[in-house]
C-alpha cells in the first residue's frame, strides 16, 4: 500500500523501568481499517495501545501519526488528531453522571454546536443512554456502561478507535451485540484497533491482525489467514 498509515510503529521498544516490554514492534493501521491485536496475558497489548496514545513513551523507535513522528507529542495532540481509546474495563468516571462522562470525552473540543450534534448522534445510536443522562455512571449495568464508554470515546470525533478488550466482563449475550456495535461504528468510517482475548470473534470481523508474544510480533497476517493458521488455532483459538 502506498497510502500513509494513520498510526504506525517503527521498531518500537518500550520499558517500564528496567523491564523490557515491547521489542522492535512494527505495525500500521490505515484509515478505515479494522485490525486486531492478539496475545497472551502480559504480552504487552495494553502497553501497545498506551504507546499509540502517548501515555507511554517508547525508549527507541518511532510512533507515527499520519506519517509524522509523534514520539514527543502529548496525548492531547493525538486525541485532537483523531486517536481515541476506550480503556480496559471501560473505566467510566463512576461518580459522575452519564452526561458528564460524555462531555469529558469532548474535553479537547471547542466547537459547541459540533459537540451538541455529536451528543444527538450518540443518543440516536444508544437510546438507552439518553434515558439515563443524569444517572451516576457507576450505577449503570455492564451493557449500558459499555455504551457510555463507546459514546464517550466517539465524543472526540475519532478517526481511529483503540479498544482494549471491549468484550471483557460483558455477559455472553452482550458480547455478540458488542461486536455488532463495533462493526457499526467501523462502517461509519472509523478505523478500529482492537485488543481482544476473544480471538475467534475478533478475527471474524477484522481485516488484519497481529499476534504478540512477550512483546514481540510473532504473526502478522490477514484475518482469514490467521484464522486458519494451525499454530494460532491451537494456542489462542482454543482448539487442539
Amino acid at each position: 500500500m502506498t497510502e500513509t498509515a494513520l498510526l504506525e510503529f517503527r521498531a518500537v521498544n518500550t520499558h517500564y523501568g528496567a523491564v523490557h516490554i515491547l521489542k522492535d514492534v512494527d505495525l500500521a493501521i490505515y484509515p478505515g481499517e479494522m485490525v486486531c491485536l492478539l496475545g497472551g496475558n502480559a504480552s504487552g497489548k495494553s502497553t501497545t495501545l498506551k504507546t499509540l496514545l502517548g501515555m507511554v513513551t517508547p525508549t527507541s523507535g518511532e510512533v507515527l501519526l499520519d506519517g509524522e513522528v509523534v514520539n514527543d507529542k502529548p496525548t492531547s495532540y493525538r486525541v485532537t488528531n483523531g486517536v481515541t481509546m476506550v480503556p480496559e474495563n471501560r473505566r467510566l468516571f463512576k461518580r459522575l453522571t452519564v452526561k458528564e462522562n460524555l462531555e469529558l470525552g469532548a474535553y479537547l473540543r471547542d466547537d459547541k454546536e459540533g459537540i451538541e450534534e455529536d451528543l444527538e448522534n450518540i443518543y440516536e445510536l444508544f437510546p438507552r443512554v439518553k434515558e439515563r443522562l443524569s444517572q451516576k455512571s457507576g450505577t449503570l449495568s455492564g451493557g449500558e456502561q459499555q455504551m457510555v464508554a463507546i459514546g464517550r470515546a466517539l465524543m472526540s470525533r475519532p478517526r481511529v478507535l483503540l479498544m482494549d478488550e471491549p468484550s471483557m466482563g460483558l455477559a455472553p449475550a452482550l458480547v455478540q451485540q458488542n461486536f455488532e456495535l463495533i462493526q457499526q461504528i467501523h462502517e461509519e468510517g472509523v478505523a478500529i484497533f482492537m485488543v481482544e482475548q476473544n480471538a475467534n470473534m475478533a478475527l471474524s470481523i477484522a481485516d488484519r491482525g497481529w499476534v504478540l508474544q512477550t512483546g514481540r510480533v510473532v504473526l502478522d497476517d490477514t484475518a482469514e489467514a490467521l484464522l486458519s493458521n494451525p499454530e494460532l488455532r491451537s494456542s489462542y483459538l482454543g482448539e487442539s
Partner: protein, 596 residues
C-alpha cells in the same frame, strides 16, 4: 412501600446486652468529658441565667444522644421492625440511668481517692460542680434522675411526629444559638441603638434570662406549626422547577444581598465582633483556596500553610522598615504583586516534585514540605534575611488614600478581607464551571482515564496548586498587615489542619459549604490562635475539632452544605437523615422505601 410494622415489644422484652453496652459508653463519655475538664472550664459561660451553663450542657447532652441511639432500630430490608413503644422508652431510660451512675461513681471516687496526679481534673472543683455544692446524695439524685429523663426523651424522639420533633429542634437549637451569639447581639443592638432589646433577652452577668428563654423557646417552637413545611416545599419546588438560567440569576441576587448585608453590618458592630469577622474572612480565604486544591482537584495538600506563610513573609519583607536584609518599604499594593509572584513560584516549586504522587503519598510529602518551610523561616541560616524566631515586626497598615487598613481598626481590616473573599469566591465560582474545572473533576475521579481523554494532568494539577497558593498568600498578606508582624510560630501545621477541617465540615468542593464552615467553626470555636465567640473553648478547640471531624466522617461525609454531586453520591444515607426532620413521615418513608 414500607412494610407494616409488627406490634410494639413487651416492656421487658429488652436487648439488655445492647442497653448495657450503650449505657456504659454513655457513662464513660460523661466521665471522660468531666475529667477532660470541659464542664469546670465552661461553667463560667452562662447560657440561661442560674439554670444552665455551657459546662452542664456538655454533660447533659450525652444521655439524650445515647437514649436516642439505643432505641434506634436497625432498618434492614425485608425484616420487619416492631412498632416503637414504651419498651423503647425504657431502653432509653436505663441507658441514661447507667450514664448517671457513671457520674455517681465519679463523685464517690473523687470524694474517697486522690488521683489528681495523673488526672488534673480529679479535683474538688469538679466535685463541687457535680454535687451542686449540696453533697453527694443530692448530686446523685440529680444525675440519676436527669439521666433517666434525658435518656427517655432521647428515645421518645423516635416516637414523636416529625412536627413535634421539629418544634423541639427549633426551640433548643434556636435558644442555644441565641445564647452563643450573646456578644454579637449585644454588640449589634448597641450599634442599632436597640440596647433595650439585648437588655431584655440577656442578663447583665451573661446568659439568657429565664423568662425570655421560655418566651423565645415557645416562639421558636411555634414556627414549624405556622409554616407547616411550606418553606421546604417552596425550596424543593424552586429547585426542581426553575430554569437553570433563572437559578443562576437568583443565586447572583442572593449573593448580592449577602454582600450588601456584609457591607453595611460592620458599621453597627463593635470592635470585637468586627475582629471576629475579619478572622473568619482570613480563614475563609484560606479555605476557598484549599477547597480548589482538595475539593475540586482532589489533591490532599497538608502543607497548605506554607503558602499562607509565603504571603505573610513577602508582605513583611516588602513593606516593613524592620526587614533585616532587603527593605524597600513599598506600598502594600506593590508588595501584593510580589506576593502573587512568590506564591506562584512556591506553588510550582512545591507542586512540581509532589504532583506525580497519588493520594496518601501526596498528603505525607506536602505535610513534610509545610514543616520544612516553617523551619526554614525559623532557621539560623535565614535569620539575617527573615529574622528567625523574632520574625519581622513593624509592618505598616495598608494605605488606601482616604482610608487606612490597620489592625487597630478591625472594621477596616474586615472590609479588606471582604474584598479579597469576594474576589476568591468569584474566581472559585468561575473556575468550577470552566474547562480547567472539568479537568480537575476528571482527575479527581480517575487520573489515568483523565489522561486518556487528553487532559494534561500534570499541568492541571499544578494550576490547582498555584491558584490555591495565591489565595492563601493573599490571606497571609492581609494577616501580616493586620497584626503588624510575622513569626514562624503563626504558621504551624495546625493551620493546615484546621483549614482542612473547615473544608471537610463545610462540604468539599462547595463554595457555600466552605463559607458556612468558616463562619461556624472559626466564628464560634475560633482559629488556631484566634479566639471565637465561645472563648471558653480555647483549650479544647482541638478536641472539639477532632470530635467534629470524626462525627462528620461517620454521619455526614458530604459536609454541612454539600454540592449537588456529593449529595447524589451519598444519596441514600442522606435520605435517611433527612427523613428524621421530614415534614410528613409517611410520605418520606414511602419514598425512602422505594429508593432502598
Amino acid at each position: 412501600m414500607m412494610s407494616t410494622s409488627l406490634a410494639p415489644r413487651k416492656l421487658f422484652d429488652q436487648n439488655w446486652k445492647r442497653i448495657i453496652f450503650w449505657g456504659s459508653i454513655c457513662a464513660l463519655s460523661q466521665v471522660f468529658i468531666c475529667l477532660v475538664g470541659l464542664p469546670a472550664e465552661l461553667d463560667r459561660r452562662i447560657l440561661i441565667k442560674s439554670t444552665l451553663s455551657l459546662g452542664y450542657l456538655f454533660i447533659i447532652w450525652v444521655p439524650l444522644v445515647f437514649g436516642y441511639v439505643v432505641s434506634k432500630m436497625v432498618e434492614l430490608e425485608g425484616i420487619e421492625n416492631p412498632k416503637p413503644g414504651p419498651a423503647d422508652l425504657l431502653s432509653g431510660a436505663v441507658t441514661g440511668l447507667l450514664g448517671g451512675l457513671g457520674l455517681v461513681i465519679l463523685m464517690l471516687g473523687i470524694d474517697n481517692f486522690d488521683l489528681r496526679d495523673p488526672l488534673l481534673n480529679w479535683n474538688p472543683r469538679l466535685f463541687r460542680l457535680l454535687t451542686f455544692e449540696n453533697g453527694i446524695g443530692f448530686g446523685s439524685m440529680v444525675w440519676l434522675l436527669s439521666g433517666v429523663g434525658l435518656g427517655t426523651l432521647g428515645a421518645a424522639l423516635h416516637q414523636m411526629t416529625s412536627r413535634i420533633r421539629k418544634m423541639i429542634a427549633y426551640a433548643t437549637f434556636g435558644l442555644f444559638i441565641l445564647a452563643v451569639l450573646e456578644d454579637v447581639i449585644d454588640d449589634l443592638s448597641e450599634g442599632l441603638r436597640l440596647e433595650w432589646l439585648s437588655d431584655m433577652i440577656y442578663d447583665k452577668k451573661g446568659g439568657v434570662t429565664v423568662t425570655s428563654a421560655i418566651v423565645i423557646a415557645v416562639v421558636l417552637a411555634l414556627i414549624p406549626m405556622v409554616t407547616r413545611g411550606k418553606i421546604k416545599e417552596k425550596v424543593t419546588q424552586y429547585r426542581s422547577n426553575e430554569e437553570p438560567g433563572d437559578q443562576q440569576r437568583n443565586s447572583i441576587i442572593l449573593f448580592a444581598l449577602v454582600a450588601v448585608v456584609f457591607l453595611v453590618l460592620p458599621w453597627f458592630l463593635g470592635g470585637i465582633v468586627n475582629e471576629l469577622l475579619a478572622n473568619v474572612g482570613l480563614f475563609l480565604l484560606l479555605a476557598l483556596g484549599l477547597n480548589i486544591v482538595v475539593g475540586l482537584a482532589g489533591l490532599l495538600d497538608l502543607g497548605y500553610v506554607a503558602f499562607f506563610a509565603v504571603g505573610g513573609y513577602t508582605t513583611a519583607v516588602f513593606t516593613s522598615p524592620n526587614s533585616p536584609w532587603f527593605s524597600p518599604e513599598t506600598h502594600f499594593g506593590i508588595s501584593l504583586l510580589a506576593v502573587v509572584v512568590m506564591a506562584t513560584l512556591a506553588g510550582l516549586l512545591i507542586g512540581a516534585p509532589v504532583i506525580r504522587m497519588r493520594g496518601d503519598y501526596l498528603a505525607i510529602v506536602t505535610l513534610g514540605f509545610g514543616e520544612i518551610i516553617r523551619l526554614l523561616f525559623l532557621s539560623d541560616w535565614l535569620k539575617p534575611y527573615l529574622g528567625g524566631s523574632q520574625g519581622i515586626t513593624n509592618i505598616p497598615g495598608i494605605d488606601l488614600g482616604p482610608w487606612e487598613v490597620r489592625g487597630a481598626d478591625p472594621r477596616s481590616v474586615f472590609y479588606m478581607v471582604l474584598a479579597f473573599c469576594v474576589l476568591a469566591i468569584y474566581v472559585s465560582w468561575r473556575l468550577q464551571g470552566s474547562r480547567l474545572g472539568r479537568a480537575w473533576m476528571a482527575i479527581r475521579e480517575d487520573e489515568s482515564v483523565a489522561e486518556v481523554m487528553g487532559i494534561n494532568t500534570v499541568n492541571s494539577k499544578l494550576m490547582a496548586f498555584v491558584v490555591g497558593a495565591v489565595l492563601a498568600s493573599f490571606s497571609g498578606a492581609v494577616l501580616a498587615a493586620k497584626v503588624g508582624s510575622v513569626f514562624p510560630k503563626s504558621f504551624e501545621i495546625l493551620v493546615s489542619i484546621i483549614i482542612l477541617v473547615v473544608v471537610i465540615v463545610g462540604g468539599m468542593g462547595s463554595i457555600t459549604g466552605v463559607m458556612v464552615g468558616s463562619l461556624v467553626l472559626i466564628g464560634i470555636l475560633g482559629g488556631p490562635r484566634q479566639p471565637g465567640l465561645l472563648q471558653e473553648f480555647q483549650n479544647y478547640k482541638l478536641l472539639i475539632y477532632g470530635a467534629l471531624l470524626v462525627f462528620m466522617m461517620l454521619k455526614r461525609p458530604e459536609g454541612l452544605v454539600p454540592t449537588a454531586r456529593r449529595t447524589r453520591e451519598l444519596h441514600q444515607e442522606e435520605y435517611l437523615q433527612d427523613a428524621w426532620l421530614g415534614d410528613d413521615d409517611s410520605d418520606q418513608q414511602e419514598e425512602a422505601g422505594e429508593r432502598v
